[in-house]
Amino acid sequence: MRSRFYLSLLLISGLILIIFIALAFYREISPEWKRYQADYRELLIKKARDDASRKKAAALKIEHQQIYLESLKRVDRCMYCHIGVDNPLMADAPVPFKQHGGDYLKNHPIDKFGCTVCHYGQGRATNKKEAHGIIPVTQFDYPISYRLKTPPPRVEYPGAGRDTHWDFPIIPLKYIQSSCAQCHDLEFLNNKGADRVVKGERLFREKGCRGCHKLNGVGGDLGKALDVVGSQPYAYFPMRNVKGEKTIYAWHRQHFIDPREVAPESEMKVNVTEQEADYLTTYVLSLRAEEMPRSYRRIRDMRFQERPGDGESLYKMFCIACHTTGKDSVFDEIFNRTIPAIMNPAFLKTVDNKHLKRIIEEGRSGTQMTAWKASAAGLTDGEIDKIIEFITRQRPKSKPEPFSFTRFRADIKHGEDLYRVRCALCHGNKGQGGEGSLGLNLRNPVVQEADPEFLAITVRDGRAGTPMPPFGKNGVGLSDQDIADVVSYVKTLSKKK
């Protein structure tokens, strides 16, 4: 009895193994692409106009296809399935047999460029899932068959929308222009209809992205440098909160629309429409690490536009993301502190260019304001001057009434008492500002080393148009001596722990 049971167990498991081996063998000898090629052959026969071409089509061999690009060290096997890509007869055929759209192949011969140079994806793979690098949400198990009258059943892929651990999945067509910018300059692309990447670049410039992100070594340091962001692998992007397909492309788009939805800790300030998000995504995807060989390129320095020469464009590129119009002093919930109004007339009236330059060069440590000097964020002296020229273009002609700080002998102790009552509610007990309160940080070197005359005038006259009230005769009513005391105390704040 017992031996019979074991014998049948052995037989059954052996049988199962044989079935598996047979299945694996069958899969190996009839891969997906063979069926595609067979269908393509049938389609060719159907489309043939005369006997000769019909005979030729019937003789088409189902075989391996590949393009080897020596200078790029790439192998593309996309035409295993996309076999009609350069066949004009296939202009209205269904994907994957369809001829390539537009006249791109005329200028980019397929045996010089291949496919993945522009489209990404895994060139060496020979099935859709791995070649495209994205598991489709749902699709036909075998998309098209001319032998089948009724369409095959829809198959919901497990793990749909995820990648197949291939770092560079195929680029969705709406972002494909990011590839054009590898070899062509933007002006050329604009004339040739590749306007999405051009619009993206303009938005990138005018929304002030480089206020926080370095590109080519120039830009703020709050965000990550973006030089090669278009070549960053899948693992670089936290996908947990991305909705829909979990791809790099979806990440970028959603991150432009609502950065904090994708990365809750993000401080990114961005306000774009969905369309603008598409343009920007296209542009950032064009910032790639690999450099195309010279024989492919049509421009010398392909990736980076020259920095603009005028103050307004520089202001947009580096300042506008935070300071916006510069007219209003705004408490910002993301930074949790006030972003000062740098084009406020009352401020411009009081401040001299030397102090402005120092603020821009050194930044304000303890706040989000970057140090913009050449050795930090990378702006040249001339560029900072141009930005200052732009900021101060509407400076009022009148000068404030001088304070003559030096005529006072300050009583720091009295200044401290006054500070506690008058200043601490907004600027914080230690002058730290921010952290939910309205006042600016007074501890940073730029304020600590500022001309006391400037500080005293600011305290006396306040900043019209901002919440800083006048504390002198025309406001709260402190005497000049009081103000001198407070200013002297403020200048000791950086020494307080």
Binding site: V330, F331, E333, V421, P467, P469
Partner: protein
């Protein structure tokens, strides 16, 4: 006779002592009205006037402040006009004046995201005095009877899954989403057009930010539903929702704020 006299003397002594001490006790308990008003005025002028103005009309030297929401929308923040007698943060029914305890809580906590700082470190006397002084700005304090605070007793099931589900339905039925949005981010279809009683644009609360101005405990949320925020678009639901339903709604907002799973 002798004994009676002694006893009479003793009793008289005790009574006169008691009688004499009454004015002292009273005086100790409530200092002269004049002193109190002076103290209140001093504190107000030192701490409050710079924003709320010398007349309490909210037109102080600081003026209008601007706050940029995380969404990028910029909102004007104005110091409260204390002369109108409309108060948002009360424990009393809608239309009533807040209790002294309400005002005290406000002084202690401040109002987050409105730049009203906490004045917790002030001595209690001074806080009491300034509360009395604030009441001189509007005649409403003399005209209306003080209301009783609404009792708050949190049921145990607040935050439970079934309660959240009921709250979700109420959120939908009572059209909370029209202002606060279906996802609770304050971006409902009506959110762009909201104005307060002073005619200034306001934003519905974004629950995902989690920082309620009044306070963040479930009790604070409940009392907001019950009292409403007078002067804003937020009505009182004391009559239109049962107490139980208001607590269900609290459960759902806790979920929106991400404080319960």
């Amino acid at each position: 006779m002798e004994g009676f006299n002694r006893r009479f003397k003793d009793t008289a002594m005790i009574f006169s002592l008691i009688l004499l001490s009454v004015p002292f006790l009273l005086f100790d308990y409530a200092p002269g009205a004049g002193d109190m008003a002076d103290l209140g005025k001093n504190v107000y002028e030192e701490r409050c006037m710079i924003c709320h103005g010398s007349k309490g009309d909210g037109k102080g030297l600081v003026g209008i402040m601007k706050r940029a929401e995380k969404s990028g929308r910029i909102l004007d923040v104005r110091p409260r006009d204390l002369t109108v007698g409309v108060f948002r943060f009360r424990s009393t029914p809608t239309g009533c004046t807040p209790t002294d305890a309400d005002l005290m809580q406000l002084l202690d906590r401040g109002i987050t995201r409105s730049f009203m700082p906490s004045h917790k470190e002030l001595p209690l006397e001074e806080k009491k005095a300034v509360i009395q002084y604030i009441k001189t700005f509007s005649s409403i304090w003399k005209e209306s009877e003080p209301c009783k605070p609404i009792p708050v007793k949190k049921p145990k099931w607040v935050g439970s899954a079934s309660s959240i589900e009921k709250g979700r339905k109420i959120y939908k039925e009572m059209k909370c989403w029209e202002c606060h949005g279906e996802d609770g981010r304050g971006r409902g279809p009506k959110s762009d057009r909201l104005k307060d009683d002073w005619g200034n644009p306001i934003l519905p609360f974004n629950f995902t930010s989690g920082a309620l101005k009044r306070g963040t405990s479930p009790e604070d949320v409940y009392i907001t539903f019950t009292t409403g925020l007078d002067g804003t678009g937020m009505p009182s639901y004391e009559d239109s929702l049962k107490e139980e339903d208001r607590w269900h709604l609290v459960s759902y907002t806790l979920k929106l704020m991400g404080r319960v799973k």
